[in-house]
């Protein structure tokens, strides 16, 4: 079996006894400390992004996957037709849809179905984007909201109202299969 002899660096006596090495190390840490200290003291330059005040929002890429939300079309019709494909595809089963029939008196009676309630449990959601990919009506999209917080479990379930609030309106046929979405 071949033996590989590891070449150890030859150290001078002052390096081996931590004299020059200690000095060098202390110098490096001191220079870092001094630089950061000055930057902090002057308030200019960047040390760390101060999270709640400064956020990544402006720098988020177009393909960012945040909270899923429902959208309406230009006629203010909810696009979702309650086919429940997203509910079936959802890997962590975060989506619960209660479908209902659109009454014949309604303007959009020919669409036949709409969700009575649409719930996404944001504790379960893994932001995979499968619901968006599977949706035949282009009704559900992943938006850029990422700080979903709440003090109770019930607060963390997004209902239909909340979902439309996040989603807003999408005009025209949006091509989901371009390179961005």
């Amino acid at each position: 079996m071949a033996t590989i002899v590891v070449q150890r660096p030859k150290l001078a006596w002052h390096e081996r006894w931590f004299i020059s090495t200690l000095y060098k190390g202390l110098k490096i840490t001191f220079l870092h400390a001094k630089h950061t200290w000055w930057t902090l003291l002057q308030g200019k330059g960047e040390v760390t992004m101060q999270y709640p005040e400064e956020k990544w929002d402006a720098h988020l890429p177009d393909h960012y996957r945040g909270a899923p939300a429902l959208v309406k079309d230009e006629q203010d019709r909810e696009r979702c037709v309650s086919c429940q494909l997203c509910e079936f595809i959802c890997p962590p089963r975060a989506i619960t849809i209660t479908p209902e029939e659109i009454p014949s008196t309604d303007k959009w009676a020919k669409v036949e179905k709409r969700p009575r309630e649409f719930k996404i449990d944001m504790i379960r959601c893994i932001y995979c984007g499968m619901c968006e990919e599977v949706c035949p009506e282009q009704a559900i999209y992943l938006r850029k909201d990422y700080a979903i917080t709440g003090t109770t479990r019930a607060e963390m379930v997004h209902d239909k109202k909340k979902l439309y609030e996040i989603g807003g309106v999408r005009i025209g046929l949006v091509n989901k299969w371009n390179e961005l979405k």
Partner: protein, 406 residues
């Protein structure tokens, strides 16, 4: 019984109690809390981060718009928040531990660390006779109060004797936790303490030979008048004031070696990086305090920092003139027995604390610079290098003392 009561000096008792409360609870414990804060801030700027900068006085709880930051520095209330968190956490005792020793160990770590504070002179003396002007009167006011809790004639020996008891706490914690990580941490700690205790003790023998005294306040007074041990620039230490006698300057060589050995041994003794093998996170989870939580863990934590502060205090007292202000006789700021004005007494306390803080900053700086030693290298350094070097240093000092007839 009556004569026994009469023999108790009430003024002395009260003065001692006040000094204990002031030094142990109003100086050391807040210093422990704030050295943790200092450690977090310094480690942060060394690693190009900001560190805890948010915690202020929580005025928002009272309905104000913003939390208040003391002096505009954010995070100065962080130690209080940390303390509160430790108090409110669940104090969990695992089922598999030996309960008696498990509960005893944190106290045994904390108590010796605070006890050694008794012999450190944290100031020269405080003249309280100005109190008579505002109506307080008493015979005890006219004698200045010595700012050391116990003016023992065996100062450093007492410190080492008590400080080495701290290892019992760590060993007991490691053993009673009944877990392999804790056990290894305890074993490492005890062997480390044994190997560095000897070097630590021997390293100050040259210092005691030079002073010819074991009383820490006398040692500091001597340094105040005749130049610090590591900085002999006035009094008998300076050749130009002493008939061009270079004795003290020649002694700087052994004193410097002593100082290095003492400081490095102090790092090992207080389990600080680069010698923090007993709690070595990468191998032992958290070492001897793996199984501890809440305030019991906090006691270990505080014990480590208290030991660090006392160690710094001892190093400052022995080598850097204690409470003495540099060039004191030239500036007229030196200690005059029984005639030091009150403001100078306070300035001496401030000087002592400033020196200790500088030393603590150095401790922290080294911790965030050096990687941890390998265990065999640590033992080798203690037994094969420092022990022999300290012994040779004693002989060198003796030879120099004989040659220069100091």
């Amino acid at each position: 019984m009556g004569s026994f009561l009469d023999s108790i000096n009430l003024a002395f008792l009260i003065a001692s109690a006040v000094k204990i409360v002031f030094f142990a609870f109003m100086v050391i414990l807040p210093m422990v809390a704030y050295s943790v804060y200092l450690e977090r801030r310094i480690s942060a700027i060394i690693q190009d981060r900001v560190g805890p900068n948010r915690t202020g006085i929580p005025l928002t709880l009272l309905g104000f718009k913003k939390d208040s930051h003391i002096f505009g520095i954010g995070g100065l209330v962080q130690p209080l928040a940390d303390g509160l968190k430790f108090l409110l956490k669940e104090d969990f005792t695992p089922a598999h531990v030996n309960k008696f020793y498990y509960w005893l160990a944190p106290a045994i770590v904390m108590v010796p660390a605070l006890l050694t504070a008794a012999v450190i002179p944290f100031g020269s003396e405080l003249d309280l006779s100005w109190l008579t002007k505002i109506g307080v009167d008493g015979a005890w006011l006219h004698k200045p109060i010595k700012l050391v809790i116990a003016d023992l004639n065996v100062g450093p020996l007492f410190t080492f004797a008590i400080a080495s008891l701290g290892v019992y706490g760590i060993v007991l914690a490691g053993w009673s936790s009944n877990s392999k990580y804790s056990f290894l941490g305890g074993v490492r700690s005890s062997s480390q303490m044994i190997s560095y205790e000897i070097a630590l003790g021997l390293s100050i023998v040259p210092v005691l030979m030079i002073f010819g005294d074991l009383n820490l306040s006398k040692i500091t007074e001597y340094q105040d008048a005749n130049g610090w041990l590591l900085f002999p620039a006035w009094g008998k230490g300076a050749p130009w004031e002493n008939g061009w006698h270079f004795g003290r300057w020649a002694l700087l060589v052994p004193v410097f070696i002593s100082f290095i050995i003492f400081t490095v041994s102090m790092f090992a003794e207080t389990n600080r990086a680069p010698f923090d093998l007993p709690e070595c996170e990468t191998e032992l989870v958290a070492g001897y305090h793996t199984e501890y939580s809440s305030m019991k863990f906090a006691l270990f934590f505080m014990g480590e920092y208290a030991a660090m502060i006392i160690g710094s205090g001892l190093a400052v007292t022995l080598f850097l003139g204690g409470w003495s202000i540099p060039f004191a006789p030239w500036l007229g700021l030196d200690y005059k027995a029984g005639a030091t004005p009150a403001w100078l007494g306070l300035a001496h306390i401030a000087c002592f604390l400033a020196k200790v803080v500088c030393f603590i900053v150095f401790f922290i700086w080294v911790r965030w610079t050096l990687p941890r030693f390998r265990y065999d290298l640590l033992m080798k350094l203690g037994w094969l290098v420092f022990f022999e070097l300290a012994l040779a240093n004693v002989i060198l000092t003796a030879a120099l003392l004989m040659y220069f007839k100091i």
